[in-house]
Symmetry: D5
Subunit: 153 residues, 10 copies
C-alpha cells in the first residue's frame, strides 16, 4: 500500500501558493521493480507567468517527462506548483529550466526533461527543450508530438 500520511495537500482544501518559492512539491514512494525505468509524462497546457521586464502575462504549454527512482511527484502538488508561477516574472528560457530543476530537486529522478512551448511574441514563438542527460538506457520515451507553430493559413 502506498504511504500517503506525509502529504499535506492531497485531499485537503489548500490555498494556491503565491510564488514558486512558496509552493511545495510533495512525493509519494515508488517501487520501480526490475528492468528499465518507467517514464511518466505530465502535459500542462494551462500555464502562465509574467514577463520579467514588462510584467505582462506570458502563456506556455509545458510537457514534462521523467523517470522516477523511488519517488513520484504527487500530482496535486504539481498542479499547485505550476499554478504558483502566475505572478512570477522570468524569461522563457530560465522559467522552463527552473521548473525542471525544481522537480529534480524534489524527486531525485533517474532522469528528467522538460519542453516549454511559449505563445508567440512579436510574431515569433520560442520553444525551450532541456533535459538532465541522455535518456535512461532501455526505457521507452515517445516523442511529445506537440504540433509546430504555423501562423495563419
Amino acid at each position: 500500500m502506498i504511504d500517503t500520511k506525509n502529504l499535506t495537500q492531497l485531499g485537503t482544501q489548500v490555498e494556491t501558493p503565491q510564488s514558486p518559492e512558496a509552493a511545495v512539491l510533495e512525493t509519494v514512494p515508488f517501487s520501480r521493480g526490475d528492468g528499465p525505468p518507467a517514464i511518466v509524462r505530465f502535459t500542462c497546457p494551462e500555464f502562465t507567468s509574467l514577463c520579467p521586464v514588462t510584467g505582462q502575462p506570458d502563456f506556455a504549454h509545458i510537457v514534462i517527462d521523467y523517470a522516477p527512482d523511488s519517488a513520484l511527484v504527487e500530482s496535486k502538488s504539481l498542479k499547485l506548483f505550476m499554478t504558483s508561477f502566475r505572478n512570477h516574472g522570468a524569461f522563457h528560457e530560465d522559467c522552463t529550466v527552473m521548473i525542471g530543476r525544481r522537480i529534480v530537486a524534489a524527486t531525485k529522478p533517474l532522469w528528467l526533461r522538460i519542453g516549454g512551448y511559449w505563445y508567440p511574441r512579436g510574431g515569433i514563438p520560442i520553444d525551450v527543450f532541456w533535459q538532465t542527460g541522455a535518456p535512461p538506457e532501455g526505457a521507452w520515451l515517445p516523442e511529445t508530438g506537440v504540433a509546430p507553430y504555423r501562423g495563419r493559413g
Copy 2:
C-alpha cells in the same frame, strides 16, 4: 478565342508596382453562358503590408471569391497588385476591404467576398470578412476551410 491584346503585363517582364495606386488590375473577357454564375477563388498566402502607425510589417493569408460577369481578373496582374501592398500602410480592416473594392472596381463582378486572416499581434490574430452582398442565387460557394488560430499545444 480569348482576346488578350489589351494586356500589358502578361507575358512581359514588368516591374513590381510601388503602391496599390500604381498597380493596374487587368481583365480578360469572360463568357459566362447559361445558368448560375461560376465562382472563382484566389488563395494568396504570400501577402505583406505595413502597420500604418509603427511602419512594421504585417502579414496575412488572403482568400478572394468572386462571381465574374463579363470580365476575369488577369492573374498576373492580380499577383502584381497584391505585391504592391508591400510598402503600403493600412489597418487590417481597411486593407482587407480595400483589396476587395479594387477588384470590384476593375471587374464589376456579380458578387465578391474577401477574407483576410492576419498573423497575431499581442497574442491575438484578427480576421476580416467582407462581401458585396449575399452570394448569387444558385451558385456553388464552398467554405474556405482556413484553419482557426490555436496558439500552442
Copy 3:
C-alpha cells in the same frame, strides 16, 4: 439487368483519345426510382492540361457531383475523357466549366456541379466552382471537403 451492349470502351483495350473532342462519354441506363435523386461524386486527382498561352502543363484536382436522371456516366469512358485533356490548352475557368458541360450534354442529368482546384501559379492557386443550378430539392449533397491551400508552415 443493365444493358451494356452499346458500350465500346468498357472491357476493351482502347487508345487514349488525343483531345476532348475525340473522347466519347458513354452512358449506362439508370433507373432512379421513387423519391429524391441520388447524387454521384467522381473525384479526379489525376488531371493535367496545358496553358493556352505558354503551352506549359497545368495540374488540377477535379471533383464532379451530379444527379443522374436516366443515364449514368460509364466510368471508364469518364477516365478516358479526363485523360484527353493532356494535350489540350485552356484557361482554368474555361477548362473546368467545359468538363462540366460535356458531362451534362452526354448524360442530361437533373443537375451537375464541378469544382476545379488548380495547382498554384505565381504563388496563387485558382479554384473554379460551377453548377447548372440550385441542387435538386430533397437530395443529399455533402460538401467536398477539399483542404484549402496553405502555402508553407
Copy 4:
C-alpha cells in the same frame, strides 16, 4: 422492457448469409416519445462486394443515417446483412441504393439516407449519396465528415 423474443440471430451463433436475398434484417421495437425524431447513424468501414462485370472485389466505406419510427434495426442482423454482399455483384450506384431500400423496407423509418464511399478504380473513386426525402423537421443530423479522397502527396 424491450421485446427481443422474435429475434433469431442475436445471441445465437448464425451462419453468414450467402446473399442479400438470404439475409434477414430484424428489428426491435422503439418508442420514440415526444418531440422530433432521433437520428441513428451506423458507420460500416468493412464492406466488400463484387464488380458485376469482372467479378473482382470492390470495397466501400458506408454510412447510414435513419430516423426510426417504431422499429430499430437490430445491429447484429445489420452486420450479417452487410456481410451478405461479399459474393454479390452490383454497380456502385445500384448497390448503395439497394442497401438503403432494404433497411427502409425492414424498418419503415420516418426517413433514411445512405452514403457509399467506394475505393478508387482507374484512379477515380465514386461516392453515392441517396436519401428518401428531406430530413425530418426539427431533427439533428450532423454531417458525416468523411474525409475526401486525395490521391497522393
Copy 5:
C-alpha cells in the same frame, strides 16, 4: 451573486451514485438577460455503461448542448450523474435519449440536444442524435465537429 445554498454536492466529498435513479442533477439560477439564449456545451469523453443483454461494458463519447432558461446544470452534479451509468444496462439509443431527458427534467431549458458516439461493436459504431426541437431562433450553435469513425488505415 449566485445562490448556491441549495447545492448538496458541490464542495462536498460525495459518493458516486450507484444508478441514474440515485443521481441528483442539481441546478444554479441563471439570468439570461436580453437577446437570444446562450448555448452551453458539455463534452463528456469519459462515459461507460453496460450492455442490457450481455452485461458487458459499453463506452461512448457524449456531447450535450442546451439553452438554459433560468437554471444551469451544476457541473459537479452532472459529472456524478454521468458516472452513475457505470453499472446501468441500456441500449445505445435509449441510454442516449434518457440522459437528454433527465437534464431537460432537471433544468427545464429552452432547448437541448445530445449526441452519443458509441464505440464499435461488430465493426460498426452507432451514433445517436436527439434534440427537443429545432434550435432556438437567433442562437449560435456550432457543429460539434466530432471526427467520423474510420476503422484502420
Copy 6:
C-alpha cells in the same frame, strides 16, 4: 485618415488593469461604406480567470466575431481588457457573456457573438456560445472551426 488622438493606451507603456471594471475598451472610428457589414474576428487563446468558489485558475480559448458599425475595438485596449480577467472570479457562463456585453457597450456594433471554449474540469470541458441576435443579413460569417475536445487516444 483615422483619428487616433483620443486613444490613451495605444503606443504608450500602460499598466495591466487590475480588474475588468478598471479596464477601458477604446475604439477607433470606422467607416463601413456601402453593402453588408464587414465581420471582424478576434481569436484569444491566452485567457485566464479565477473560479469564483475556489479561487483556482480557469483557462479558456475565446473567439469573438462582431460587425462594427461606426467604431472598431482598438486592439491594444482589447488585449488589456482580456488580461484584466486574470484576477477576476466568475463562472464560465457569466464570464463569457460578460466579455461580449462589454464589447457591445463600448462599440455599439451591428451584431456580436462570442464563444468561450473552457479547459476541462472534472473531465468535462464547458463551451459557451452567445450572440446578440441573428447575424446581419448579407454578411459573411465563417464557422470558427475550433477543434472539439476529445480526451485521449
Copy 7:
C-alpha cells in the same frame, strides 16, 4: 493447426471477471519461425479503473506492444482481463505497469512495452510508458503515434 483445446473463455459466454486477480489471461501456441521476432500491438481505447483514494472512475487509452515467443495472448481473454479493472483501484503508474507485468507472466514474451494515456485530472493528463528492456534486435516496432493532449483551441 492451432491447439485451442485448453481455452476456457473463447467461444463461450463467460462472465466479466470481477477483479484483475480473478481474470485469467489465456494463450495460444505460436511458432515464430526464423528471423527477428514479430511485434504484436493491442490498442485498448476502452479502459476504466478507479482512483484508489476517492473511488472515482479513471479512464485511459492503453497501447501494448509485445514480441511473442511461443505463446500469443488469446484476445478474448485479454479483453476480459482489461474489463476486470472496472472496479479496481490503483494509481495510474502502478496500474499501467501491473497490466504489463501480468501479460509478461502469462505469455513469457521476448519483450513487452505498455503505454497508458490517462485522461486529465486537475487539467493535467498523465502518460506512463514502461517496457521490459530494449526492443529486440532486428524487429520492426513503429511509434504508437498517439496524439498529444492539447487542452482547448
Copy 8:
C-alpha cells in the same frame, strides 16, 4: 528493356485465384545498379480474409516494404494474390506473416517487412509487424505513418 514474356497474368483477363495456394506471384527482372538498395512500398487498404474459428470476415490495411534484389513483384500478380485471401481462414498474426513469407519466396529480396493493421474485434484492434531482419544498410526507409486507432471522440 524489361523482359515480360514469362508473365501469364499481366495484360490478360484472369480469374481471381480461389486461395493463396492457387495464386501465383510473378516477377519481373530488376537491375539494381550501384549503391544501396531501393525500397519499394505497396499499400493495400483493400484486404479481407476469414476468421479461422467463426468463418466471419476480417479486414486489414496492409503495408509491405521490400528491397528487391534481381526481381520485382509484378503488381497485377500481387493484387491477385492479396485478393486470394478472401475465402482463406487464418489468425491475424499468422496471416500477416504468411503474406510476407510468400513474397520473400517469390522474389528473394534483400529484405522485406510487412505491417498488418487489423480492424477491431471486441473493441481492440490488433497490429502485426514483421520483417526478415534489420533493414539494409544505407537504404532509405521512411516510417509508414499509418494513423493509430483511436475509438471515438
Copy 9:
C-alpha cells in the same frame, strides 16, 4: 556573386523538352563553406509520365533531397526536366531511380535521395525510395512527412 552566364534556360522563354534525354539539367556554382553539408529539398507534386506497357498516364508526387557539393540544380531547369517525362514511358521503380541518377550526374552532389509516391493502380499505390548511400554525417535531414495512402473512410 553567383555566376549565371552559362545558363541557357533561366530568364528565357524556352520550349518544354520533349523527352528526358532532350532535357538539360543546368547548375549554378555553390560554395558550401565550413561544417556539415546543407541539404536541399525539392517537392514536386506535379509529375506525370506514361505506363510503358499500356501508354496510359501515371501520376506521382516526387520528393528529392540532396547535399550539393559545388553545384546547385538551377530550379527552372529542374522544372523543365520534370516536365519532360510527360510523354516518357517507364515503370515506377525505374522512373524514380532514373530521375535521381540524372540529378547526380548533373550536379555530382555529396549525396542524394529520391522518393516517388505513385498514385494507386489496381487499388494499390507504389512508393519507391532510393538514395546514393547513407546521408552525410552531421547533416540535418528531416523526414519528408508525406501522408500515407489510406483508401477511403
Copy 10:
C-alpha cells in the same frame, strides 16, 4: 539577475533596419548550469526577401534551433534582424544559410541549425536545411514537424 543594460533595442521604439548588414543581433547573458545544453527554438512564419534576379518577393517559413552557450539571442533584435531581409535579394540556399551564420557569429552557440521552408515557385517549393555540426550530445532536440508541401487535393 539578467544584465540588460547593453541592449539598445529592447524596450525602445526603433526603426526597422534597412538591410541585414544594418541589423544588429543583440544578446543577453545566459548561465547554462550543469548537464547537457538547453535547446531554444524560434519559429518565424513571417519572413520575406527578394529574388536576386527578378526582384520579386519570396516568402519563407523559417525555424531556428540553437544551443546557447553563454549568450541568448535577444528576441526583439532577432525580430528586427529577420525583418531586415525585406529588401534583400538572395537565393533561397544562400539566404537560409546566411541567417544561420549571422546568429552563430552573434551568439557563439554550442550548436545551431536552421530550416528554410520556401513558398513554391514554378510549382516546386524548396527547403533548405543547415546545421553547424551534429547536435550536442545529451541534448533534447525534437523534430520541427513542419508539414510537407502537398499541392492541391
